[in-house]
Amino acid sequence: MSEAKPGWKSLPENDALAPGTADKFHTGGWRSEKPIWNEKTCIQCMICWIACPDVSVTVKDGKMTGFDYDHCKGCGICAFECPTKPKSIVMETEKK
């Protein structure tokens, strides 16, 4: 973060910034719990994928493959919504 920041004379006006994406940032750093997937009981219903607010359920060839832990915020919605009994996603406390 040592690059020189532009002053008011050169800074683009109206706070208009180039389009950005959180893809390049590690936004999951403040997670206190993480989802753990159990592939054996998973029925590939994709409910977790639909429900995840942060697009952090990873999918390959139409199948759920786990989580993108760089962006998963640990909200637990996927685990709550998973319909299998026992759950195919459980939340586990993050190690300090």
Binding site: N14, D15, L17
Partner: protein, 388 residues
Amino acid sequence: MPTLAKTGNEAMAEAMRQINPDVVAAYPITPATEIVMIFASFVADGLVDTEYIPVESEHSAMSACVGASAAGARVMTGTSSQGLALMYEILPIASALRLPIIMSDVNRAISGPINIHCDHSDTMAARDFGWIQIFSENAQEAYDNLIQAVRIAEHPKVKLPTMVTTDGFIISHCMEKIETLEDTEAKKFVGERKPEVSVLDIEHPVTLGALDLQDYYFEHKVQVADAMRNSIQYILEIAREYEKQTGRKYDLFEKYQLDDAEVALVALGSTAGTTKAVVDELRAKGVKAGLLKLRVFRPFPAEEIAKALANVPAVAVLDRSDSYNGQGGPLFTEIRSALYGKAKTPKLINYVYGLGGRDVTLDELRTVFADLKKIDQMPAYNYFGVRE
């Protein structure tokens, strides 16, 4: 050029019809209701192409204006008093994002106690939000100022939201003879908005209004201050162009019998008209009376005012709102500050008057001019028209 009989509100609605903005988002409030009500009928009758967004509050009206303006639309709205107050949260967002939204504000006292009549407390409370503020003396000026406001706000070197005000009921509801531009001339004068960014332009995506913390907020605010300072020259440029087309001259302020005046008033809005009548009467009696009628309050033409008042020995600044600061109304404190340190300055006193629509009489203004003759015995901060 068409000559019409119009109230201040009708004149502003007529200007809006000719401007034909892309989007109008508004919520009705006395005494500004008619402006957007008449305009809504233009929309319903197909006289304009405007997308009219009837919202549930002024907060939403200004929020919708911000969104539409960020998308690149030419956006207008109208409000008054509590309505403007409900917009306060969004007004500085419009200026910070450099969105040239154009607003008609019909000046009305801020509650409470609840009141619906004219004073300038609504606009004055919004004076530090980065909006250009232009006052009008009558319906003609309301029309002319609103047409010019489009060009001022959207000028590529300005890009600041702009409000044009009239005095509630006194101008908004009084019918006067006004001259308007032909529709084609008005359209040509205002042209098309050419936005530099549009949040709907998916070929050139931008992020607008991102979180701006300790490291960038300050720079963006200085940009607004700088644009405001520089806008003076463009306001004058546009006024000159408008004069060429209409023959009606506009400046940052009007000097009425001011150059050789020995006693003068400074006023905003309709009171300037009343003052002119008293100035004429005093001049006929040999008293060198004058008036400085301020048109542009933001940006504040401090240097220009100081120059215009330099040779007037005694000046009274009339404030149709109070600052409750123990030292004078907002116009007075700004003018006194503009004069500070100048080699030649007038003696200056302040009158707060006309709050809540209290009538302003010729007699009261005669008394103010008489007070100026004994200005050395006058306190700085006075009232007129209030019962003791």
